[in-house]
């Protein structure tokens, strides 16, 4: 599973992109964030405030209960500020 980080989530985790292989019990977005938060102190800090994190699965906005599976591209980023 490919994880992408943008804006301050990239700054905080120190990575823009990583390939991960979460255990089978990680089946949805909420579960994935919990699991990612356990990868390092930097990840934990970046993901502390879940309200501030938006998630896209395969380039579609996703809710905490939306499913994730091996092979997905999952992006984590703050609320958008373009325009």
């Amino acid at each position: 599973m490919q994880i992408l980080y943008f804006a301050w989530l990239k700054t905080h985790t120190g990575t823009g992109q990583e390939t991960v292989d979460p255990p089978e019990q990680v089946r949805d977005v909420a579960g994935l964030l919990d699991w990612l938060a356990g990868r390092s102190e930097a990840h934990a800090k970046a993901l502390r405030d879940r309200q501030a994190v938006r998630v896209a699965v395969n380039q579609e906005y996703a809710r905490p209960s939306d499913p994730v599976q091996p092979g997905d591209e999952v992006a984590l980023f703050p609320p958008v500020t373009g325009g």
Partner: protein, 169 residues
């Protein structure tokens, strides 16, 4: 039509191309967003501290985006505008990369037989773009780099046009 690019664009050339050879266009509305030299929340010089420092002075701005998803979202927003209004043509150009104050960031333009449709759809495009297209602004100030926070006002502006069924929250 949508475009995501690093380079600047020429407003006149873009708008001319949008209406050329289409005498059915009666009104063309456009919006250009530019880099300001002050953060939107900046206030006048701090008279309390006596330092006279302007809060939020912006030296440059870097726009990051999510290649692939950005284009997908812009195309969807553009299609939604055509679904809601009788448009003859539309254009969204959004830049990414580093820009200095005064530089153009985004151009949104809509052409219709009638001006009300042009105005409404143009405002709709920029309102939804601001809350749904994956772009993030990093401001360079004298104190260093700072990721711009999303504005509650932008959510309210986007919500005027109803909800979509594809952008979570």
């Amino acid at each position: 039509m949508i475009r995501v690019q690093r380079e600047d664009f020429e407003i006149g050339a873009e708008l001319d191309a949008l209406t050329r050879d289409n005498p059915g266009v009666g009104g063309l509305c456009s919006f250009v967003g530019l880099v300001r030299d002050l953060h939107p929340d900046a206030r006048t010089p701090d008279s309390e501290s006596g330092e006279g420092r302007v809060h939020g002075e912006v030296r440059a701005m870097t726009l990051e985006h999510y290649p692939g998803m950005t284009e997908k979202m812009l195309r969807r927003i553009d299609a939604e505008a055509h679904r809601r209004w009788p448009l003859e043509a539309s254009l969204v150009i959004h830049r990414y990369g580093r820009m200095e104050p005064g530089e153009r960031i985004v151009l949104v333009a809509t052409a219709s037989a009638h001006r009300q449709a042009a105005f409404e759809s143009c405002q709709f495009l920029i309102d939804w773009l601001k809350t749904k297209a994956p772009f993030w602004k990093l401001e360079e100030t004298p104190d260093g780099g700072c990721w711009v926070d999303a504005r509650v006002g932008d959510d309210a502006a986007a919500a005027r046009w109803g909800r979509d069924d594809w952008a979570a929250e």
